[in-house]
């Protein structure tokens, strides 16, 4: 008899607690502090599961909702940079995340410096990826002021990229010098650079779910399209 009463009482207590415990809100899911954790410590702690965590963070930061700390719901460049940095450290081979974060920072927030910092970070872990070098070159050429572009630095980067093991898949039989020359010609091609910026924004728009970010990208895209006309 006593055990039945104890069982019924504990069951009632469990139900009562389940009823009173607050249900999770959408903001609990969207605003996730893990995105702003210390990335190296987080990666070391997550062990072999770091790539799966990177997937989850990518879904949190982009597909599910916006990137923002606290209850501001306004993602500024620092927050976008920190969130992307965490994802890049968790999975430096996850190129689309790096591409998205760096392009967003350079094109929408005009923070090429932060975008290049992300690229440098990815290169520490993944120094033999042609795509990362190419992204760096494209970002500098497309978003840096023309008078600030250092041709020698660009040529050195392009040469280094062309000598990487997987570069042949993309460059094919093209000679390294020809490729470097093409890139330096593109550096002075205003029309081509604007076309690249428009393509970047279209890609960002396609990969963004958050309405706030979407409006921001659309606005910038309209400005560029108007300039072209």
């Amino acid at each position: 008899m006593a055990s039945r009463v104890a069982f019924l009482l504990s069951a009632a207590l469990f139900l009562l607690l389940s009823y009173t415990i607050p249900r999770p809100q959408k903001s609990d899911l969207v605003v996730n502090e893990i995105l702003f954790a210390r990335p190296f410590f987080f990666r070391a702690l997550s062990g072999y599961a770091h790539t799966l965590y990177a997937d989850r963070l990518w879904l949190l930061s982009n597909t599910v909702g916006e990137v923002a700390v606290g209850d501001s719901f306004k993602a500024d460049e620092k927050e976008v940079y920190e969130a992307t940095r965490t994802i890049v450290v968790m999975d430096p081979f996850f190129y689309p995340a790096l591409n998205y974060g760096a392009t967003y920072l350079a094109s929408i927030k005009n923070r090429l410096d932060l975008a290049l910092k992300l690229v440098e970070l990815a290169k520490i872990f993944n120094p033999e990826d042609f795509k990362i070098y190419f992204l760096e070159i494209l970002l500098i050429l497309t978003y840096e002021d023309e008078d600030k572009i250092d041709d020698e630095k660009i040529a050195a980067l392009a040469k280094k990229a062309a000598l990487l093991p997987d570069s042949q898949k993309i460059l094919g039989n093209m000679l390294v010098n020809d490729w470097v020359e093409d890139i330096l010609i593109y550096a002075r091609d205003k029309k081509g650079k604007r076309a690249q910026a428009i393509e970047d924004l279209k890609w960002l728009l396609k990969n963004t779910e958050d309405p706030l970010k979407k409006r921001e990208i659309q606005k910038r895209l309209q400005e560029l399209l108007k300039d072209r006309e």
């Binding site: 072999y48 790539t51 997937d55 081979f93 996850f94 190129y95 993944n126 990826d129 093991p165």
Partner: protein, 260 residues
Amino acid sequence: MKEILAVSLFFSKSLLKERATAIFVILAVVMIAIALGLSDINIARRFKLLEDVLLTSQMFLLHIAALFYAFEFLQKERTLGLFVLPLSAGMSRGRYLVSKFITLTIMVMSIFFSFLALDAVILYFIEKEITYMLFWQLFLYALSALVLGFSIIFFSNLVSLMNSVIYAVALFFIGNGLDEFYIYAKHISKDALMQYIASLLFYTVPNYSIFDKQAEVVNRAYISTEQFYLYPVLYFFALLFLIFSASYLKYRTKVLRFGE
């Protein structure tokens, strides 16, 4: 060699009969079902999330299996005195120790092969191709699980069984963060003392990060043949030799008791 294999097979058969063996396979099937449920979510590359969930869950199960079988075997050895019969029949301590290592290898590898068969079928039907890199990564995780199990056997010669598990798991976590610590010390902080500590740890703690190439595999990124195939296997054999030698040095003079 014959007697080593006979003893190993005898021990393995008794461990295979444990209910946990079936539970590991059932859990793997459950995780495959979860991964399939998530396979529609397209992040960067289709099936990336599926492969990530598959590899990560099976990595966990392989390590838990190594931990479980090492603990279960050593526990039985201490309570039932499994060593009495082989040693009294004239088997040397060194050979008996080899059979302990082989038993653990057979157990972890049998779990690995069951996962491999499940993955091969599932991935062939979903991705319409056989991704050998993925299977090799799973094999590397099996090697990592073996190093964890061997460490427990080694520590059990020095401390109690529970403590040996704690030490081995602690080493596993430190060894897993070695790469991150090294990169942080060398490229981010650039502090001389930190760089020295990071280099020191590289020579004193098993580097489990060397078995982790999952990011390159699921992102289909470039990875050199040496880094993917050669170094992890060579490193495993170097560790195996080291752990076995250290265990043997202690085990050959150890006073063996059971039923405590």
